[in-house]
C-alpha cells in the first residue's frame, strides 16, 4: 500500500464540447486534508465525482485507496464517504432515522451501529435534534448531520463537495475542527471550496481553473511561489487609479480593499512599487503611497486563475 490515497493521471472529462476536467494530475497523501480551490464551473465537482466513481472519465487513470476507478468503484464504496454539495439525506426522516438508515445501508452490525450512532450524535452535537426531522434543521446542523452520516461506517477517505457553502462562519469553524479530528484518526479528506479561509486550512491545495490544475502545493508554498508581486497603493481616487493600472501591460489585476488598491504586478518588474508609482504619476493621478506587500492566498488564487500570462 502506498502512502497516497488518491492518484490520478491525465484525467479528462468532456460533456459534449465542454472540457469540464482537462488533463488533471493529482497525488493526494493519506491522512491529510487536500483542497480543491476554484471558481464555480472550474471542474471541482466533476473531478470529485470521477474520483469516487460516479462519473466515467473520458480519459485518464484513477487509483483510489488501491482500487482502480471506475472499474472497482463498487469495492471502494465501503471505504469512502461522500458528502454532496446539496443536502442529500432524507428531509422527512428524523436525525436518528437518517443515521440508522445509513448504518443499515453500510450493513453495520446492530450493536456497532447503535454505538456509532450514539458517538456521532454526541460528537456532532445532534443530541437535542435527534428526534427532529432533517428538513427543519439549520444549514450548520444539516452539515453536521451529513458529516455524521457520511462517516458512520468509518471511511478511510472522505469526499466533501463544498461542504460549508450554506453555513455561517461560526459553524464553519467547528465543522473544520471536526475534520481535523477525523484526520487525526487517519482519515484522508478531499474537500472542494471557493472560500479562502477554508482553503488556508488545508494541508495541500490544488487550484483548478476551467478544468485545469493551475497551481498546487501547501498554502504557504503557494504564497511563496507566486509568480507576481503585490503592491499596495493608497490614493484619493482609487477607482480611477485602478482602471488606469488595469490597462498597463505589467499589471495582472487590481482589487480595491476599502480605500486601498491591491495591485498584482508581473514578476518581471525588478522594483514593482516604483513601476506602479511612475505609471500613476505619468497618468497625472494622485498617489499617496506605494509599498510591497506579502501575497495572500487570494492573490495566489487570482494569479493562478486570472493572470494574463501563463503562470510558470
Amino acid at each position: 500500500m502506498t502512502d497516497l490515497a488518491i492518484q490520478a493521471h491525465d484525467l479528462c472529462k468532456t460533456f459534449g464540447k465542454v472540457k469540464a476536467v482537462d488533463m488533471l494530475n493529482l497525488e493526494v497523501p493519506r491522512s491529510r486534508i487536500y483542497g480543491f480551490l476554484g471558481p464555480n464551473g472550474s471542474g471541482k465537482t466533476t473531478a470529485i465525482r470521477m474520483l469516487c466513481g460516479l462519473l466515467t472519465p473520458t480519459a485518464g487513470d484513477i487509483n483510489v485507496l488501491g482500487y482502480s476507478i471506475p472499474d472497482e468503484a463498487e469495492a471502494l464504496r465501503l471505504k469512502v464517504g461522500y458528502m454532496t454539495q446539496k443536502f442529500s439525506l432524507f428531509e422527512d426522516l428524523t436525525v436518528t432515522e437518517n443515521l440508522q438508515f445509513m448504518g443499515d445501508i453500510y450493513t453495520l452490525e446492530r450493536k456497532l451501529k447503535n454505538q456509532r450512532i450514539g458517538l456521532a450524535i454526541e460528537r456532532y452535537e445532534l443530541g437535542k435534534l435527534a428526534k427532529q426531522r432533517a428538513g427543519t434543521l439549520s444549514g450548520g446542523q444539516k452539515q453536521r448531520l451529513a458529516l455524521a452520516a457520511s462517516t458512520l461506517h468509518g471511511p478511510d477517505l472522505l469526499f466533501l463537495d463544498e461542504p460549508t457553502s450554506a453555513v455561517d462562519p461560526e459553524n464553519r469553524r467547528s465543522f473544520w475542527e471536526a475534520l481535523f479530528d477525523l484526520v487525526d484518526e487517519g482519515t484522508t479528506i478531499l474537500v472542494s471550496t471557493h472560500y479562502m479561509d477554508e482553503a488556508e486550512r488545508c494541508h495541500a491545495l490544488a487550484i483548478l481553473d476551467k478544468g485545469k490544475l493551475v497551481a498546487e502545493g501547501s498554502p504557504a508554498e503557494l504564497q511563496e511561489k507566486i509568480q507576481a508581486s503585490i503592491v499596495i497603493v493608497e490614493s484619493d481616487e482609487p477607482r480611477k487609479v485602478g482602471k488606469m493600472l488595469e490597462e498597463q501591460s505589467f499589471v495582472h489585476s487590481t482589487a480595491q480593499v476599502g480605500n486601498v488598491l491591491r495591485v498584482m504586478v508581473s514578476i518581471d518588474q525588478a522594483s514593482p512599487e516604483i513601476a506602479v508609482s511612475d505609471a500613476i504619476s505619468r497618468a497625472g493621478l494622485n498617489v499617496k503611497r506605494c509599498s510591497i506587500a506579502k501575497p495572500g492566498l487570494e492573490d495566489v488564487f487570482v494569479a493562478a486563475t486570472r493572470m494574463k500570462k501563463t503562470p510558470a
Partner: protein
C-alpha cells in the same frame, strides 16, 4: 444477509416517508373508495326517463297497447312520434333520443309468427347504461306475444347502435380493481426514484454499497402491501354495496391481483428510470393509463377493436388482468384454466424488472 439489511433499511424508510406524507397516505384509501362509489353508483342506478321516439307503422290496437306498456315502465319517455325508421336513426344521431322503437306495418301478423321478431328497438350503444335498459324493455314487450309463443324468439329485436356488445354492470367492479391499481401502483413507483433524484437523495444512495437490484426490490415491497389493501377495500365495498359476485376463490383473486400489482410496480420503476423529473414521470404514467382504460376491455370489448389496437392492448398488463379477474370473479374459472394469462403477467414482471435494473445506473453519466 447484508442484502436483506439494506433492502429492509429502504423499506423502513419508504414506509416512514409514506406515513408522513399525509396526502399520499390518504389517497391510498381515498382513490379506491371514491372511484368505486363513483363507478359503482353510476352502474347501479336504475335507468329511467330515457328520451325515446316511436315509429308506429302499424297503428293497430296491439301496437298501441305495446307502446303504452313500454311507457308505463318509466324507462322511456316518449318525446316524439315519427313515421319512418330513418327518422328514428336521424334523431338518435343528433342525440335527441337514446331509444327508438320501430313497429313495422305487419306487426300484428308478425306477432303470430313465432320465428320472426315483431318489432325493433334501436338503442344508442355509445351509452352503456342505455344498453342495460334495452334488456328490460324487451322483457316488457315479450308479454305482447300471446302464448304459446311468448317464450321464443323475442318479439323485440334489439339493434344496438355504435357498440355491438352488451355488457353486464358487474363487469365493471372487477375491472375497476385493475384500473385503480394501474393508476396508483404505476404512479407510486414511477415517482419513487425520480423524486429521490430531484431531491438529491439518489446522489447519496449511489455512493453507498447499495446494489441496484436491492434498491429496485426494496422500492416495490411497501407498495405491494398498499396494493393489497386497496384491493381488499374495493372487494369489500363491492360486495357490501353492489353485491358483486365472487364466483371463483378469494385466494385465486388475491394471487392474480398480487401478480398484477408487482407487474405494475415494475412498470412504474421502468418509467422512473426513463423520466428525469416527477412531471415527466406523471406524463408517462398517464400515457400508459389512458390506453389501459380504453383498450384493455374495461370500457370496450376487446373483440370489437381493430387489430392494431388489440396488439397495443396485449402489451398492457391491465388487458391480461381484466381477463383474469373477470374469469375468476364472474365465471368462477380456476387458475389452471387461466394459467396462460397469468404467465403473460409473470413475463411482464421479469422483463420490466430486468429493464429497470439495467436502465438504472449507479453512475451519473
Amino acid at each position: 444477509m447484508k442484502s436483506l439489511q439494506r433492502i429492509f433499511a429502504i423499506v423502513v424508510k419508504e414506509v416512514r416517508q409514506l406515513r408522513r406524507d399525509r396526502l399520499t397516505f390518504g389517497m391510498i384509501v381515498g382513490i379506491p373508495v371514491i372511484q368505486l362509489l363513483m363507478f359503482g353508483y353510476a352502474i347501479n342506478m336504475d335507468v329511467r326517463h330515457l328520451n325515446a321516439a316511436i315509429a308506429d307503422m302499424s297503428g293497430t290496437s296491439a301496437s298501441r297497447q305495446l307502446v303504452m306498456d313500454l311507457s308505463e315502465t318509466q324507462i322511456i319517455n316518449v318525446v316524439k312520434q315519427v313515421s319512418s325508421a330513418d327518422e328514428l336513426e336521424h334523431l338518435m344521431r343528433q342525440g335527441e333520443i337514446s331509444v327508438g322503437i320501430y313497429i313495422p306495418p305487419d306487426f300484428d301478423r308478425r306477432l303470430q309468427q313465432p320465428d320472426r321478431s315483431a318489432m325493433q328497438l334501436l338503442v344508442d350503444g355509445s351509452d352503456t347504461v342505455v344498453q342495460g335498459a334495452a334488456a328490460q324493455l324487451a322483457q316488457v314487450a315479450q308479454q305482447a306475444r300471446t302464448s304459446p309463443y311468448n317464450d321464443r324468439p323475442p318479439i323485440m329485436e334489439i339493434r344496438t347502435f355504435y357498440n355491438p356488445e352488451r355488457r353486464s354492470p358487474v363487469n365493471t367492479v372487477p375491472g375497476l380493481i385493475g384500473v385503480i391499481l394501474t393508476m396508483t401502483m404505476i404512479l407510486f413507483t414511477a415517482v419513487a426514484i425520480v423524486r429521490e433524484r430531484e431531491r438529491g437523495n439518489l446522489e447519496l444512495l449511489i455512493t453507498t454499497p447499495l446494489k441496484t437490484s436491492e434498491l429496485m426490490f426494496a422500492k416495490i415491497i411497501p407498495y405491494v402491501f398498499i396494493g393489497l389493501i386497496q384491493v381488499s377495500l374495493v372487494l369489500l365495498l363491492g360486495h357490501l354495496l353492489f353485491h358483486v359476485p365472487m364466483a371463483g376463490s378469494l385466494l385465486d383473486t388475491y394471487i392474480i391481483t398480487l401478480v398484477f400489482i408487482v407487474a405494475n410496480l415494475a412498470l412504474g420503476l421502468l418509467i422512473s428510470t426513463l423520466a428525469s423529473t416527477q412531471f415527466q414521470a406523471m406524463q408517462l404514467t398517464f400515457f400508459i393509463l389512458l390506453p389501459s382504460i380504453l383498450l384493455s376491455g374495461f370500457m370496450f370489448p376487446f373483440a370489437g377493436m381493430p387489430r392494431p389496437a388489440q396488439i397495443i392492448a396485449e402489451a398492457l398488463p391491465l388487458t391480461h388482468f381484466i381477463r383474469l379477474i373477470r374469469g375468476v370473479m364472474l365465471r368462477g374459472a380456476s387458475l389452471q384454466e387461466l394459467s396462460g394469462e397469468l404467465l403473460v403477467l409473470g413475463g411482464f414482471i421479469v422483463v420490466l424488472m430486468t429493464l429497470a435494473i439495467l436502465r438504472f445506473s449507479k453512475r451519473l453519466d
